[in-house]
Symmetry: D2
Subunit: 135 residues, 4 copies
């Protein structure tokens, strides 16, 4: 079992839609922010370092379950953790929690593929990167 990491996000008024709660596509960006934040802060290999080595991460697939609406004024926690890795991809699970109640507002997963930043083609994940994510 791998470590779960948390990033905190403050909902912004621009993220509220016609239904008066956070618009569904914004959840994508919350998880992306959390991974980007945690890459640097928790895994100690920032996105910039991936770029420097000629790599980037592409989203292969994503799954969302929406349990509770998130409202303006809510502080939320985006919790993510690696569930497993294959030769070219990593599966990352997430939960979006209301900070005050720790209730789950949404959960799901992303499958990310390591790509060559120039060609866009998938690459084998190098040993040292596997190790970085095995915490």
């Amino acid at each position: 079992m791998y470590t779960k990491f948390d990033s905190e996000i403050i909902v912004r008024p621009s993220e509220i839609d016609i239904n008066r709660h956070v618009h569904q596509s914004v959840y994508f960006d919350y998880v992306l922010f959390a991974r980007w934040d945690q890459m640097k802060r928790c895994y100690k290999m920032s996105m910039e370092e991936f770029f420097k080595r000629g790599y980037s991460w592409a989203t292969k697939s994503a799954y969302f379950e929406f349990n509770k609406p998130i409202f303006l004024g809510d502080k939320i926690i985006v919790r993510t953790w690696v569930e497993g890795a294959k030769q070219k991809s990593v599966k990352v699970c997430f939960q979006i929690l209301k900070k005050e109640t720790e209730k789950i507002a949404a959960e799901g997963y992303f499958v990310y593929v390591l790509i060559n930043a120039k060609t866009g083609k998938p690459e084998n994940i190098p040993e040292d990167i596997i190790k970085i994510y095995s915490v």
Copy 2:
């Protein structure tokens, strides 16, 4: 088998992200636009009519597979169709196709729940609405 409907979308420059293709969360909004467009144009019951009857649709879950990046200048087709309905929910599949090549850029599904627009609670889908979607 239910009918598949198409909506056309022109990619906007604001939708392109740091990787120089359409940002992943925008796909959510493309599918939402297509359903909203097709509700009125193809199913002949617009979102506004749902509101008038005190209903709204909430997304229960969503799944995306990203096959090919979409670039600035691409014209795309968002194809959606009902795959099946339960007492309180409808499963809608989608494909996002490049207009020129008809190649699939992304595909997946949404599960939508009919809710009471005031309380936000799920409601049984009335017979006449089931019928409207059974084309």
Copy 3:
């Protein structure tokens, strides 16, 4: 001269556009967030309290000067202050600063009109609200 208040924002990866810096329309949302944050935290009258009294604020006009691009990883400060009030409107100036260098990335102003939340029509700003903003 009225007090200047600061809100801190962390740039998110989803906000970076094809030019690899923060997309211009996001600046609108940064300022909106700062005002919403400062209404509650600094002026002690939150947006929700305006809603409760049947009011809302609408943007009448806005001006932006873009001085320096903002990059992924930048922490920014959004500084806003009231410059003056008329019978139905308030002019609010803003600066978006890079937190590390205090250099101005963008600056400008918004003119907000107080409206009746139901009718959408402009209303005279009540005395007590004028007072709240006169700090």
Copy 4:
């Protein structure tokens, strides 16, 4: 006087905010889309051709007046025209019109600076590009 060009836009549900009309920052993206569309279709020099010559356009400043809210279901016209050019910049005016009534929903201008795509520094606008915009 220079020619005015029109681009048509269909409002998408994701663009509607908590106030039930098009969110203010989206207007930025509507104008950006219109310019991008008109560069290729009307001025016959697409953004891609600017990139190929090592140029890009950066927004120096922007001004918006919001006259009427835009609602879901509205079809809108974004009309833009060059008002004048300096050595390194072009001023472009815009109007956002409701298609049905031709009423002005918003208007304003952008000042764009020609930049070297690699260095990001302003460049003198070459003669042939001045000519392209002088229609």
